[in-house]
Structure formats: structure tokens, C-alpha cells
Symmetry: C2
Subunit: 542 residues, 2 copies
């Protein structure tokens, strides 16, 4: 029995585009004499649909496309595809998150997801009725296949015996009922995710003593980056084949008593920084493509954050699609502009230089004409950042170009940013990277590509909004701040020290800024954005 | 048996403040010889905690306060209070959403919420493990009381036999097991909510043939406005007493074979516009109070939206706390400034006038110096709005004042607003009102208070960002648009016409703006904000 995974990158709600992707992969499977072809979760709808499911007309349209797929299934090929289907009961949520088993001249069979994630970016219980895994077994060729969808295999307890779920629905099924485990996933990337996936797939394989096909989506959707990395595991939990990370792919195994990979090519191993690079480039690329924005731009300050975003943008979209704007003020060191110019030249991107001084002065003058002389302070700093924001957005208006925001996670945590100033943008590519990770990634673009001037990396970080400003004037050094950011945001615990409490308070008190931040590409287990739901008006500083 | 409801307004995470509220109400109950005192859902923690529950230290601190309450329970008084409690199982979510029954010299008893809402603004399943309602019966005096929490009573089918839930957990309990139904709620206001609450409380009463105590929170929390309106219903479903809407309150009934109200005072009936006024004033007041911002300001344009927001702000906080800024450009009619001045005078609030023309021109000049002459267009319109945004935010910085945003729901739906321009603000009070509702509310402040000049209401709506601009240049009239907004956003269905599809597309394509909008006070069943989760990068225009 030959089994293939079609690791595709669908576009949310573009059923015609997704149908074509599916068609091409079915044709390929037919050419390669595949017996069973598995697509990822929601591959017809695109993932994740969120409240698009609130509009019945959208789901109805997607269901029309299921009928179109049914008509193109060749004989001798079994296709399993993820889609949204109707719950026809009057009670319960309106839809199921389903796997559809399609075979020519046989009626299609539906199998529903049972475990619905309600953490991080996921809210599936809003629109999806849970299924019952004990009904999800179907004979394919001579194999009793268990059909699971994503979260269904995540109910195992961890090494401490703990689990987010009070019950593991897989345990309703006896191991001997199953010869082959199939999982359709829409599992987003984080640096730790591959290890976590291996744990749950291996736990599942171990329990059933059966081989497993794990088909994961690839592609980005707003904040979320689905990395692919689909897997075939044999009945001992050994990885027989792994599909590309961050790219569409099609791979097959032959399953007899053993499982064997058809191709010997395996994706090259990547270190964490290379993985982050792959993830963020895919995130930028897909956001631009899927919103029909062909070009991007950003303010290139001469600092490391914007240097990295510029490099990622060029890496993702090519230099023609990227424009830099240098927006120096009288507080910027002369180096800053020099670095911005050098980097633009290195990367072969356009650089426009706009002067913010006279605009800034006309704002201050107008304010002082009404409110009298005001000593230099926060208002003056923010005013500069907001002039830059206005100019960058004017460029968006003129060129239908996507403004990339350059905030990092360390700044975002403590609210070290100006709302409507440097928080402007349509997408924030590095908002889930601590400052130290920003430096590490920038080093790659300095060392391997010579895009980023070395001075950008070695100079002390500064917002350059007042004379001789350094980030360390008001923040701990990033070597101290970053571990604290991780413990505050990701582990959610902190030792009670004066310094920690100060940073915790800065985090809590700046929630109003993050509420209005652009979508942030998520690469950690706890990113700012839709997956983090904090109130603004509260007094819980513990 | 005398039963009292303490309808309180706790502050999220301020356990000391909430403890004091609870203490005062216990003292009052003692003075009035109450036998049973019921507080709303989560009244110790404040509601709704969202991802604050992700930090164990916060919950641990709240649990310390439960012990403090246990110590102050007087003899002969049974107190039921809503709080977060620990789930000590290794598997499942970490907490329960509980009602604690406290009696002196008896151990406290915990009862947990079973039905966890996963729609609109609610995500309780993120952190809360469901309880089992069949265990929620306790004898209080001689009554077998069923303890339920908010959503627990919302599982009934509607007139079409439909329900969001596949099972109604109340049906696990036999009517004869119950003499008295208690519900602790944190149910947010919408115009339709009182009617819906009456339906589910009466269904519950009808099923158990038992009287009911329905204790709801009052107070606002970011977008959500809890309106109170707690209820006592007798065993026939008749309302015996209703507590104040939008105010703290304490009321009692005596329950023998019949239920009788102690006080004869009932809250005065309000029409929809008066209810909206109460809701929005509470929303503004609590956001300001709970974030420690003592004053608010806004751009007063001479149009109806900002006129209404100014009136609501003065109504909520008094004239001393409100400052208006007039920011006319050369495109504003002379009337606009005249109206802004007249309204400020009528309401006795400060008005500052700032000129945006020279700032705007310095921006355009700088852009043209780099990109050449640009014919007047969207960029010029947005640039004006962003200069205003910058000046209004500068005022925030100078005076630690909360900028009120003045967008309405009709504009927000079609994206007729400038990101970082008129979308600036810390709170958007009228973002859930269609333009027609804005007019209706403004009329109250014109007719009853003479705050808003009549001309503001009668002039045709215009953004005044280019010569002789009218909203109808690019939008249908609001009489046509508003019903469409309601059908698109609240009912989520629309007839397929060219015009409807154009508006639907405008809505879908402007999601990136709403993603970055300030918190919007929610008064309808489907407001923009955290309760609506739409993707940006998608192509589902159906």
C-alpha cells in the first residue's frame, strides 16, 4: 500500500485556488500509483477560518466545492481531505471540523474532530461541535485506519502526569482496533513545536502499535505560520520520512509489514535561527501574497530591529519588492543614516530619505502656541515617532504598499514603543523575538549575506528620540530583560523582586498599546496578539 | 427566609477593594437580618479575568482573600460568593469558576460552573474546567438550593427547537430535587439581553417549579458593560423584584410559600435610548476609574459623532473632567468650528483650538520633495486625519488624559476611517452604534439638555477631508447602510445584490483597521472588538 502526503498551502476562503491545489496533487498521486493520499486539516477551507464560520454563506460555498472534488476522484485512489461540514442536529454548534474519505463509486464518509483546542490562538468550540473518535475507524484497502484531526492526538499526559484535558479521547479506542493512524493537522510553528509533535505522535503510535501518517499544513495566515514538517512514522515510532519545512511538498511511503520511504531525500537539518528565518520569511511572503499587496516598505533607522526586518523582507520577497525610508531627526547620530544607506546599498533596495525636523517643529510650535512652553519630555519623543508613522503611512497610501512594523518582543513587553508611532504597520515580523534573538538573526544577515553593516550590531541600542538616549536609561540591559520577558510571558511566573515587579507592572500597564498593535508573526509558545487575551482595566499586579 | 442580592461593581484583580465591597454588603445583610446573601459571578476576582488566569500568582492571591472572607461570616447568615478556585486534578484546566457557600462554623462548600461560554467575548474553556451541575445542590435553611453560575441556565432550546449546546446540563437534575434556584451571573448588557435573560430564567423556573435568585454583576470592564438588573422570580416565573440597572444595589425578598419583595421601590422603566445612555456612561466612567485616568479629551469636529461622545463623556464624568480640541483644516466649513464652540459652551467644558494646516502642509511638502507633485487624493485626506491624531495624542501625553475615539459602527463596518488618524484613542464609546442610533442619542442631548446644537444633527454627514465632501459620495445613505450593517454584522446574512456585495467586500477588506482599533463599548449582540475574530488575509467574500 502506497501512502502519500500532499502538504499544501491553501488560501483561506479561496475555494477555487484550493480546489486547484487539491486537483494537482490528486493528479500527481495518480501518476505515482498512490493508494491513499492524505491532505492536511481544513485544506479545502484554509485554516484557520475563525469567525468566517459565523457566515453560513461561506460554509455553504465551501460545501459546494466538496461535491466538485468528489467528481474528480480517480479509481484506485482513496483521498482524505480536511474540510468544514454541517452539523444537521438542531442542537450544538453548526459545524464539524471533518476529514472526508473520498473514493470513486463509493459514498464519501465523514469523520469529525473531537478534541477542540481552546488555548492560544484557537477557539474552535465557538463554531465547531466535537465528534466522537470511537466512530472514526474505516477500512482502507486492508487496513483499519483511525482518522484523527490535529488536537485529537494531543490529549496525552506529560512527564509530570499532567494534561490540559481531563480525558484523552484516544483511550476510548482499543489498540487492536487500529492498523494505521492518520492525522490531518493545522499545527502552527513554534521553536519547540517539532519536539512536542514528535512526543504526541510517538505516544499515539506506542499506544496503538500502529504506523502513522501525520499531514500538516504549510503556509501563513495572519499571525500564524504553519510549517508543514509532515511525518510518516512506523509502528515503533521511528520517523521514516519527513516532509519539507516551510514549503509545499509531496512525499510517499510504501507500507507492507514495514514502512519504507519512496524517496531517500530528506530535508536538511536547520538550527533554531535558520528555522526562525524560514518561518518569518514564509510569514511575510504569505501575508503579502494573500492580501494582494505586492510590495512592502519600512522605516530603516540604522538600528538592529529595522535592519533585521529589512533583511527578512528582502529574503522573503526579493529586493524589488522592498523600499526603505530613512527618517532621521536631529537626535539621530550621523552613523544611523550612514548605516541605513549602507544596508540599502548592500541589499540593492530603494532608500528614500525624508526630513522629519520641520514637521516635528511645526507640531511642537502649534502645541506651545496653545499650551505655552513645555519642557522637553515624553510628548516630544512620541511626537517624533508619530511624524515618522504618518510619513510611512503616507507612503502606504501612495504606493499600495504594506508597512512592516519593526517592534521586537522585549520592547512590546514593557511598552517601550509609541502607539501610532513606531507601533504603526500592517504586519509585525519580529514582534515575537526577544532583543537577543534579534541580534542573533541579524548576525546571520551580517555574516552570511553581508547585508547588515557590522556597526548596526555592535552599537548600543537607542530609540534616538532625545539627546544621547540609550535603551538602558529606562530599561535593564537586554541580557537581563530578555530572560525576564521569557519568564513573564511564556512561563508566566516570576520571582518576587523589586526589579521583576517593576517590569511586571510595565507589562500590565502597557496592555492598551498591544491591544492596538498590528498582527505579530508567532514563533513562540506565547506571542502577543490574538492568542493572548489580557484585559486593560484591572489591578492584578501579582 | 429572607434572601438578599448584593449587586456589586468589583474591580478586576483588586482583591482588597472587592473584599471591602463584600464586607460592606455582609454588614448590611446582617443589619437587615438576611438569611441568605447572594453575590454575582466572580465577584471576588472581578470579571472577566481572561488570561490573567494564566498567572498562578494572581489566582493564589485571590484564594488568600477567600480565607479572609470566611473569617467575617456572621452567625445565622449564609453567603454565596463567586470566585475562582483550584482544580486539584493533574488533568484538565487549572481552575473552576465557582460559587462558594460560606456559613460560620461550617466548612465552606464549592460548586462549579458546568456550561462554559465559547462565543462572543467569552473563552472560559481556556482556563476553566467544567463542573457537574448534578452535584450543585445544597440545603440552605430548609430549602434544597440548586447553585448555578451564569451560562449554566442558558442551555435551553429556543422557539425553533435550536440551541448552541448539544445538551442542557440542567436536565440531569429532577425538578423535585430543587426548592430554590440560585444563579450567580456576569452577564453583559446588550439591548436584547434583558428579554433573553427573562426567557432563560423563566424556562429554568418553569422546569423546576421553584423560585429563583438571579444575581448579576454591575460595572464595566474594557469593552463589556455588566448592567446588573438582578432578579427575584417566584415559582411561576413572575418577577417579584428587579434591581437597578447600571448601578450597585442591594435588595431583599422574603420567601415563605410565596416570594415577597421587602421594598416596594422598583427601578423606573427606560426606553432603548435611555438604556444605551446608561450603558455607555457606565462604560466610560468605569474605564476611566479602573485605569486611574481622571480626565478625558476628544477632537470635537462639529459633526454628530464627536458631539455625542462629548455629551456622553460629560454625562459620565462631569464637565471638569472633559476637554475638547477643535482641529479645523481648510476643508472644514466655518459652521463646524461654530458648532464645536457652541457645544463646549453649552456643556461648560474647555475647548482648545489648534491649527492643523501648517503641519499638514509641511508633511505634504516633505513628501512632494521626495516623490514629486501628487494630485490630491487619499494620502492627503489621511494625512489630515493623522495630524489630528498626533495632536490629540500629544494632549494625552501632556495631561495624562484618556483620548476618546469617536468612530461609529457604520463607519467601522466599511472601513471609512483612517488608521492612526480618527481611529486613535484609548476607548471608543460609540463604536457599537449605527449612525442612525448616533443621531437618536444625540437628539436626547439636544432636546433634553440643550447640549448639542441643532445644526449638528441636521447638517449632512461629512468627513470634511476634501472640498465639499459628503459621506454619500462613497457610501450609500445611512438609512440604507445601517440596515445592511445590521444584517452583515449581527445576523450574518445578506441578500446577494451588487450593492450588498460591495459593502460586504468593504467590510472584509477593512479588517486590518479594526484589528488595531481601540476597545469598543459593546451594546449589541455582535460588536467589533475581542468578541469578533476575523482573519485579515483571506478571500472569502460570500
Amino acid at each position: 500500500m502506497k501512502i502519500s502526503i500532499a502538504q499544501i498551502n491553501p488560501i483561506l476562503g479561496d475555494f477555487e485556488y484550493n480546489l486547484n491545489l487539491i486537483k494537482m496533487n490528486i493528479k500527481k498521486a495518480q501518476q505515482e500509483s498512490t493508494d491513499l493520499l492524505v491532505f492536511p486539516e481544513c485544506s479545502l477551507f484554509g485554516y484557520h477560518p475563525m469567525d468566517l464560520l459565523g457566515r453560513k454563506s461561506i460554509v455553504r460555498e465551501q460545501i459546494n466545492y466538496i461535491y466538485k472534488i468528489e467528481k474528480i476522484i480517480p479509481s484506485n485512489l482513496c483521498v482524505i481531505i480536511g474540510a468544514i461540514t454541517m452539523n444537521n442536529n438542531k442542537c450544538g454548534k453548526k459545524y464539524f471540523n471533518s476529514a472526508i474519505v473520498l473514493r470513486s463509486r463509493k459514498p464519501s464518509k465523514l469523520f469529525h474532530k473531537e478534541l477542540l483546542p481552546a488555548y492560544d490562538v484557537f477557539d474552535e468550540a465557538r463554531h465547531i461541535e466535537p465528534g466522537d473518535l470511537s466512530k472514526n475507524i474505516i477500512k482502507i484497502n486492508d487496513k483499519k485506519a483511525l482518522i484523527t484531526i490535529c488536537e485529537d492526538i494531543w490529549g496525552w499526559t506529560d512527564s509530570a502526569g499532567e494534561s490540559y484535558y481531563s480525558k484523552n479521547p484516544l483511550k476510548k479506542i482499543k489498540p487492536k482496533q487500529v492498523d494505521l493512524i492518520i492525522n490531518l493537522s493545522g499545527s502552527p510553528f513554534t521553536l519547540k513545536k517539532e519536539k512536542q509533535r514528535l512526543r504526541v505522535t510517538q505516544e499515539t503510535v506506542k499506544y496503538f502499535k500502529a504506523p502513522m501518517v501525520y499531514a500538516n499544513l504549510v503556509g501563513a495566515q495572519d499571525e500564524m505560520i504553519f510549517d508543514g514538517s509532515s511525518l510518516f512514522l512506523d509502528k515503533n515510532g521511528k520517523i521514516i520520512h519527513k516532509l519539507n519545512q516551510f514549503k509545499e511538498d509531496f512525499q510517499s511511503v510504501v507500507l507492507t509489514t514495514e514502512m519504507k520511504a519512496v524517496s531517500k531525500k530528506v530535508p536538511s537539518k536547520k538550527n533554531n535561527i535558520e528555522k526562525l528565518r524560514g518561518a518569518l520569511c514564509l510569514g511575510i511572503q504569505d501575508f503579502a501574497t494573500k492580501t494582494n499587496l505586492k510590495s512592502v516598505h519600512l522605516g530603516l533607522s540604522g538600528g538592529v530591529d529595522s535592519a533585521l526586518v529589512a533583511a527578512l523582507a528582502v529574503d522573503a520577497l526579493g529586493p524589488e519588492a522592498v523600499t526603505a525610508l530613512a527618517l532621521p531627526s536631529k537626535f539621530n547620530s550621523s552613523q544611523s543614516l550612514k548605516f541605513a544607506k549602507a544596508q540599502s546599498k548592500n541589499m540593492n533596495i530603494k532608500l528614500h530619505q525624508l526630513d522629519i525636523n520641520h514637521i516635528y517643529h511645526s507640531i511642537i510650535k502649534e502645541i506651545e502656541s496653545q499650551f505655552g512652553n513645555i519642557p522637553f519630555g515624553l510628548m516630544h519623543e512620541n511626537a517624533q515617532a508619530r511624524v515618522r508613522g504618518s510619513l510611512l503611512m503616507a507612503y502606504s497610501n501612495l504606493n499600495h504598499s504594506l508597512l512592516l512594523n519593526t517592534s521586537n518582543k522585549s520592547e512590546l513587553t514593557v511598552g517601550y514603543s509609541t502607539l501610532y508611532g513606531d507601533l504603526c504597520g500592517g504586519l509585525c515580523p519580529i514582534g515575537d523575538l526577544t532583543k537577543n534573538l534579534v541580534y542573533k538573526m541579524a548576525q546571520i544577515y551580517q555574516e552570511k549575506y553581508s547585508w547588515i553593516p557590522n556597526g548596526v550590531i555592535t552599537r548600543p541600542p537607542s530609540a534616538e528620540l532625545r539627546p544621547n538616549q540609550k535603551d538602558t536609561d529606562s530599561l535593564p540591559s537586554y541580557d537581563k530583560l530578555d530572560p525576564l520577558v521569557l519568564s513573564l510571558i511564556e512561563n508566566k511566573t516570576t520571582k518576587k523582586t523589586t526589579e521583576n515587579t517593576r517590569i511586571l507592572k510595565m507589562m500590565m500597564m502597557s496592555e492598551f498599546k498591544r491591544w492596538q498593535a498590528p498582527p505579530i508573526l508567532k514563533v513562540s509558545s506565547h506571542a502577543f496578539g490574538r492568542g493572548r487575551r489580557f484585559p486593560i482595566a484591572h489591578r492584578a499586579i501579582y
